[in-house]
């Protein structure tokens, strides 16, 4: 997009400049549209589960903006020469189950024949224009609360390698098929300064976007991160997706990992996530209350980092 200049439009509340999770466009003084599209290649074999994951992943962007998704369109790339249409049917049914859970109306969609299978949603949501949650408006004195566990990219690589232990599949799939809807609603009761969802850039990559080049430091307490079972073992074995290395290069020298942080744990920080959790930046005085309310509602959450003033933008992992 860097070579493309968009015309000025006073109705655009969130555009392309800040790599935010979705675009936001003011319709009236009380309603703004939230629009996003996201589609992914299969991360699990089972078509129904993959459909659920892709739909959760697409809807998540709207929750991360503080909005409620209302309608969606299926986006499908399907290799008709490789797979039977039963597989496509399973994917679409899985996606529909998630849309029904989220109260989102499917209005249609578009499919093309492609060499590689891909599925996701184009989603339209709504939000009050004054209650949009951006990704890069963190403040000194904030704490960062993270929901869900990290490590889906590494677990998916262990699956591909045929080395995943049976017990480790269910938590992996359960995490990715969980909507961020309930967490998205709970956080509206708190003084949230910024929010994003953790996806392809990995946890540290999304922290870089939350910093937005500002003179602030995010100090991550690596011991507080919740990880999917088995992740450190698989990372230690080198079952790491190429995306982890790309993310590590993307974040680059902005991130300083302390000498006491184990290499496998440091790798997890950059692991690209599918249908990851929300990362919520709020006044540290309210962070414990938020974690408690999320946990009481069955959502795994912990305080993982603190925001402070700094001479330069920095992510410090201790």
């Amino acid at each position: 997009m860097k070579d493309i200049t968009l015309p000025e439009n006073s109705r655009v509340i969130v555009g392309t400049e800040t790599s935010d999770d979705a675009g936001v466009y003011r319709l009236t003084d009380t309603i703004a549209l939230v629009q996003t599209v996201d589609y992914i290649t299969p991360i699990v074999d089972d078509p129904y589960t993959f459909g659920m994951i892709a739909a959760c992943n697409s809807l998540s962007d709207v929750y991360a903006m503080g909005g409620d998704p209302i309608t969606a369109l299926n986006v499908v790339c399907f290799p008709t020469k490789l797979f039977s249409l039963d597989r496509l049917s399973g994917i679409l049914k899985g996606g529909l189950e998630i849309m029904n859970l989220a109260g989102v109306q499917l209005l249609g969609g578009h499919s093309v024949d492609d060499k590689e299978l891909k599925y996701g949603l184009s989603v339209t949501g709504i939000v009050h224009p004054d209650r949009v949650l951006r990704n890069n408006t963190i403040r000194a004195g904030n704490s960062l609360v993270l929901t869900k566990r990290l490590g889906t990219g590494i677990i998916a690589t262990a699956v591909k390698a045929g080395l995943l232990e049976d017990d480790h599949y269910a938590p992996f799939a359960a995490s990715m098929t969980s909507l961020n809807m309930k967490a998205g609603k709970i956080i509206r009761k708190y003084p949230v300064d910024a929010c994003t969802d953790i996806t392809g850039f990995g946890f540290a990559g999304h922290l870089k976007e939350m910093l937005g080049g500002k003179s602030m430091k995010i100090t991550v307490d690596s011991a507080s991160l919740h990880l999917l079972p088995g992740v450190l073992d698989y990372a230690g074995m080198g079952l790491i997706p190429a995306g982890m290395y790309r993310n590590r290069d993307f974040v680059g020298r902005l991130c300083s990992v302390g000498p006491n942080v184990d290499r496998a744990l440091a790798d997890v920080l950059f692991d690209p996530q599918t249908s990851g959790g929300l990362c919520i930046s709020l006044d540290s005085a309210r962070a414990d209350d938020l974690v408690r309310e999320l946990t009481d509602n069955g959502i795994e959450a912990s305080i993982v980092a603190a925001v402070s003033e700094s001479a330069n933008p920095l992510i410090e992992v201790i």
């Binding site: 390698a161 990372a235 230690g236 074995m237 080198g238 079952l239 790491i240 190429a242 290499r263």
Partner: protein
């Protein structure tokens, strides 16, 4: 294990690790792994070290030769 060299060039992750782990599991104590990407090199080295073995890396043009030993 009879093979002294695993040619994992051009294979996408996690195949180079799968082949390395298989060689180690089958009792291989001294062999080379050829890869041609930084990702594969880093992943194979992690695999070797996890198995408490040594990995020595040499670069040959665009290829990396990882010598694995006890």
């Amino acid at each position: 294990m009879s093979a002294k060299q695993i040619d994992a060039r051009g294979l996408s992750c996690p195949q180079p690790v799968v082949l390395t782990q298989k060689a180690i599991s089958e009792g291989g104590e001294s062999f080379d792994v050829l890869v041609n990407s930084n990702v594969s090199k880093e992943n194979v080295v992690r695999c070797v070290e996890k198995n408490r073995m040594k990995a020595e890396i040499r670069q040959d043009g665009e290829d990396y030769i990882i010598s694995v030993s006890r």
